[in-house]
Symmetry: C2
Subunit: 658 residues, 2 copies
């Protein structure tokens, strides 16, 4: 295989990649703040970065001010005052009314709070207006400078207010203003050109045909650049055409500080990024040992004036693209604006399932974090580089470094948080998937709850409850012996745990087939036909249990079913497999068939219940769930989905003892 | 005192205040999302909030795509292939080259990675272009659907992509785009009018005369409103004029959702806010039991169309104003945009000094968080409501709830973080204050270090080192017996700790006097004059030790010094006291005198050293400090300050044993 070498990128460790990039940036004079500008104080400065230290020009307050409403006077005049020997002072000459914040008269050196003063008329009677008496009587002494806010209490001229490289927040603007500034010297926003490339890409809002991909990475990259303090410039999609890519990149280099060339960074036939960069400058790195994201390219481009600027070939898979942003673009924008790179808060959590990891790469695992009972748990999300929804759901990342081959379930891992995890608001639901859980998630979101559902099948959910890794599980496990749902399985898997079983929905199960049912499928017996490809659910799924039970009743063995071993983890995934022609039919629910425009052949009716450990059933976390189960609008929305019956929703079906 | 009642606000607990506010907002129909708009996907959506759930319109990918570069084929055609029994397929009919991401040909059901394929010409020789062979040889079977990214792997049409009330991040835009959206339904930004009031206020950039205050609160409030998703509108300063305030507030009510009326919310003579609100609508709450910030007013205004909108009387002190924003404005903007209110991350830390707290109020203490050795510490900052710099420096807040009277030093407290504390970057420096520490702070900021210096005097710093509450201390403690600096005090206070003493600066000490020296002060003996008011440093300060030593040498007793008992905690504060006329002179350093435009009478020369425990001296945290001490540019900057000598900077003066 003479060319085999060219199929592989030469992945190098991340630190080594940065080292090469750093050297090139240093030589190009692109390794520090790119420039600064004077900007007036305004809320638009929030999030921008100081390019020079801010020293106080004036003191604040710049005078001694009253710290209370009351009368300013000289401490000496009342130093003999006692309850039994009051002192009377004339207002005007010896005392003056001041509101909090008023400057002290130059002759005064303390403030007696108004409530400690007897306001009098000249005749000694109480004054009508306590703030405008003719004289005041005082019955206690007060040390000098009492209730005075001295000049410079907050800010003394010349002191350091903000260092350079400081990311401005609202209070910083206030302090800069109070110390006499009208404008600040601010780091310029770096300009970043973002080029989506690929003949398969179509722009947002286009009609999507077979083989088209909606171009979305440039939005993510632009959002990142914006969040990190740069000015993103999204260019239109360029098809896979070497000359076009080259000329547009070259033109953009003239007035941008960084080019992000998205997709085409791998080693496929139409991956032109490396070639473009080599022709216009220099490829420094092609391939970094991080996953997802390894086919990244780091390089430098030469502008017409000879100046070199960096270019990053960003991989095309959405998760790879977003992580490339975090790993390479964020630190670059940080140093170009003079701020510290982002340092996510890290927490420790127990991982809920075993993860295997390629030993040669730093492996970035997206996780959702929640608390079940006393334990902090991190549930890994879909690992695929193409699954952008895994980043949407993620609370953070855990990185399994090169040289580790994975972690066991229950192991403690460090999670770099993307956001403050809503630990007191997060409901972990593991078990069987149902379309109504999305409706529930939306309804819970309006009640400050986040439903994180992992699809592990009905049995998987019960196992998760036993291992205290979920707050509730959805299950529809038929007991062939009794013909009843869930109770037998709960007794088997959750002996001694103490759970309540609540009715959720009754639903139809049946075969999803392509629109018009081209293969004329009528029922389970058709699964034994050699011209029919079936798509199955995974072991432990209630639908799989149902299938096996019904196949046996029909006298069909699994080996007779073409595709029995092809497994998907959700109803929607099964529907997608049928919709795409990958299979001819699959057992599932009508809502999934409807979602993908499939025909549905109803065969069975089943109970889908929510299994909730008693310790959580009464707690505040799940209280909104119970409200929703008894909300008529919500129930009507569920009943409107095809094949659903809400007659048992919220009913306590069974309790098991601890 | 007939009117005493009117001097006091009737503070009510925060929850009760919110309860009244909630009821009024509910009646006014102002307790939910105010409105929504359709906005195109663009980086400008970052931080905005979804006003409707986002359901997937299309699946992603919407076709089966190749997950590797290689040849698409049907699995059945190679199911007998083995190393010793290869199978040859014709390219075009039986196999087709695909790049990663390409759609699978409809007839294919798997992809063999290019590195597992032998590309051949028709004559059986290796093909020149591995991606364009005439036939391929394969030596292993592959299950169907291997290396295929199935339709819907990321997104299945109809699934929930984002709930309503979701704050958009870059990846969310990508997921919304990939699921077929071009625009999203977004909560409208609430419009907030901000009125600074007060005859003492002057606008940014004005010349500041005696009694003027630079208006800075509106900038902080506008920055907060902007950060929290509203549109702030800063109005010009209105003087204390009831009619003007009333008419402008009434006009703004027509096209804003919230009015913030800053200052005038207390009960002083010119505090008109409550009256304005009562006249234009209703005062719901006047006074909340929180500190700082208690004189807040919550009310409702009536628009010309009869609709009621909320108005908040925001206290005038900067810290009170900013906290009022956090306590009342942020939750309001959260519900108006449909998102969850901000939930700061909380950590536990040991408080470094005793705090006493008013039992009747929730007390908001600003703290800086750092790690010294293994301990997480929270150092309280200045408590005054006027000290905006305390918010600038703060990493977070700790709230001492009503009913508690304080906490002891070392007690564990919960800190609500404003920002991720830079624990590995934060250097705690407690001890004597010197102007050069501000230069050091700025220099460290460029090296990813944050210097948090607390001024506790030289002795205070040594005590903090002993209690492991600081990484270093600055000290200039004269040993009267030896005439040497610091070593004796270190031996006394840090017996057995093991520290290094590094030279920092030599500096002059002398008397700061008003410009022109109106009292003709020449030396220490003038402190005994009855017409001279002195301002002293606190007990434990090196300058205080020096004073006492020199007074004794001159035969002057403290009781002879007018003002000996008036204490300030920093050189700059002493200088400010002199500049303001509060005192005639104070002992200090020339840089402080210069900063405030004072004259300086040099009297003594002293050594200011840095005391660093051995355990920190060699660690990475302080490495940049040692770089800076040997940096010629930095030393030149220090030497340029009046009265400084840098000849011993960075020199190891002494080591003490553990």
């Amino acid at each position: 295989m003479p060319q085999a070498d060219s199929f592989y990128l030469h992945d190098i460790p991340l630190e080594q990649a940065w080292q090469r990039f750093d050297q090139a940036l240093e030589s190009a004079g692109m390794n520090g703040v790119l420039g600064s500008e004077e900007v007036e104080l305004d809320e638009g400065l929030i999030g921008r970065v100081t390019a020079a230290p801010v020293w106080a020009l004036t003191s604040s307050p710049n005078y001694h001010s009253a710290a209370m409403d009351g009368f300013a006077l000289r401490s000496e005049t009342i130093h003999n005052a006692m309850p039994t020997a009051p002192v009377i002072l004339a207002v005007g000459e010896q005392a003056a009314y001041v509101d909090t914040g008023d400057p002290l008269p130059v002759w005064a050196n303390c403030v007696v709070p108004i409530e400690n003063v007897e306001p009098l008329n000249l005749n000694g009677a109480p004054a009508a207006n306590a703030r405008k008496p003719e004289q005041i009587r005082l019955r206690a002494a007060l040390p000098p400078w009492s209730h005075v806010r001295p000049m410079g209490e907050d800010i003394v001229a010349t002191q350091l207010i903000l260092p350079s490289g400081h990311v401005l927040r609202p209070v910083d603007l206030g302090a800069a203003a109070a110390s006499g500034h009208k404008a600040l010297r601010i780091a310029k926003k770096p300009a970043v050109a973002i080029f989506p490339t690929g003949s398969e890409l179509v722009a947002l809002g286009s009609e999507v045909r077979h083989g088209d991909i909606i171009e979305s990475n440039s939005l993510v990259l632009a959002g990142q650049v914006h969040s990190w303090g740069g000015i993103p410039h999204r260019f239109p999609i360029i098809p896979d055409d070497l000359a076009k890519i080259r000329s547009q990149v070259l033109a953009a280099a003239e007035d941008h500080d960084l080019i992000l060339l998205n997709a085409g960074s791998s080693a496929g036939a139409e991956d032109f990024s490396a070639q473009v960069i080599a022709e216009l400058g220099q490829v420094l790195v092609h391939g970094v040992a991080v996953r997802p994201g390894h086919p990244v390219i780091l390089g430098m481009l030469r502008r017409s004036d000879g100046k070199m600027i960096p270019i990053i070939g960003v991989p095309g898979y959405p998760v790879s693209a977003a992580l490339t942003g975090e790993i390479f673009v964020e630190p670059l924008l940080a140093r170009w604006t003079g701020r510290s790179p982002a340092r996510p808060i890290e927490i420790e959590a127990a991982i809920t399932r075993k993860i295997t990891s390629p030993a040669g790469d730093d492996d970035y695992i997206r996780v959702v974090v929640g608390r079940v009972g006393e334990r902090l748990l991190a549930a890994p999300l879909a690992r695929g580089a193409g699954v952008i929804t895994s980043l949407v759901r993620a609370d953070g990342l855990t990185v399994l470094p090169r040289g580790t081959q994975g972690v066991e379930a229950g192991a403690k891992i460090r999670v770099r948080l993307y956001r403050a995890p809503e630990l007191e608001q997060t409901i972990f639901c593991i078990g069987s998937h149902d379309v109504t859980l999305d409706l529930l998630a939306q309804a819970l979101a309006t009640k400050s709850r986040r439903l994180v559902s992992a699809n592990a099948g009905s049995q998987g959910g019960l196992v998760a409850l036993r291992r205290k890794e979920a707050h509730l599980a959805g299950a529809h496990l038929l007991d062939p012996a009794s013909g009843k749902y869930n109770l037998a399985a709960v007794r088997q898997y959750l002996a001694g745990v103490g759970v309540n079983i609540y009715g959720w929905v009754g639903r139809e199960q049946g075969l999803m087939v392509a629109r018009g049912n081209p293969k004329g499928i009528k029922g389970l017996t058709d699964l034994a036909r050699t011209d029919v490809i079936f798509i199955n659910r995974q072991r432990g799924a209630g639908t799989r249990v149902l299938l096996d039970y019904q196949l046996e009743k029909s006298g069909i063995t699994p080996t007779q079913v073409n595709g029995y071993d092809l497994e998907e983890f959700t109803h929607l995934a099964v529907a997608a497999a049928v919709a795409s022609g990958r299979a001819d039919c699959g057992l599932g629910i009508p809502a999934a068939a409807q979602a993908l425009g499939l025909d549905f052949i109803p065969l069975f009716h089943e109970h889908y219940d929510l299994i909730i450990p008693i310790e959580f059933a009464a707690g505040p976390l799940l209280a909104p769930l119970f409200e929703i189960m008894h909300n008529e609008t919500f129930k009507r929305d569920v009943a409107a989905l095809p094949g659903y019956d809400i007659s048992r929703m919220g009913t306590l079906i069974a309790e098991t003892a601890t």
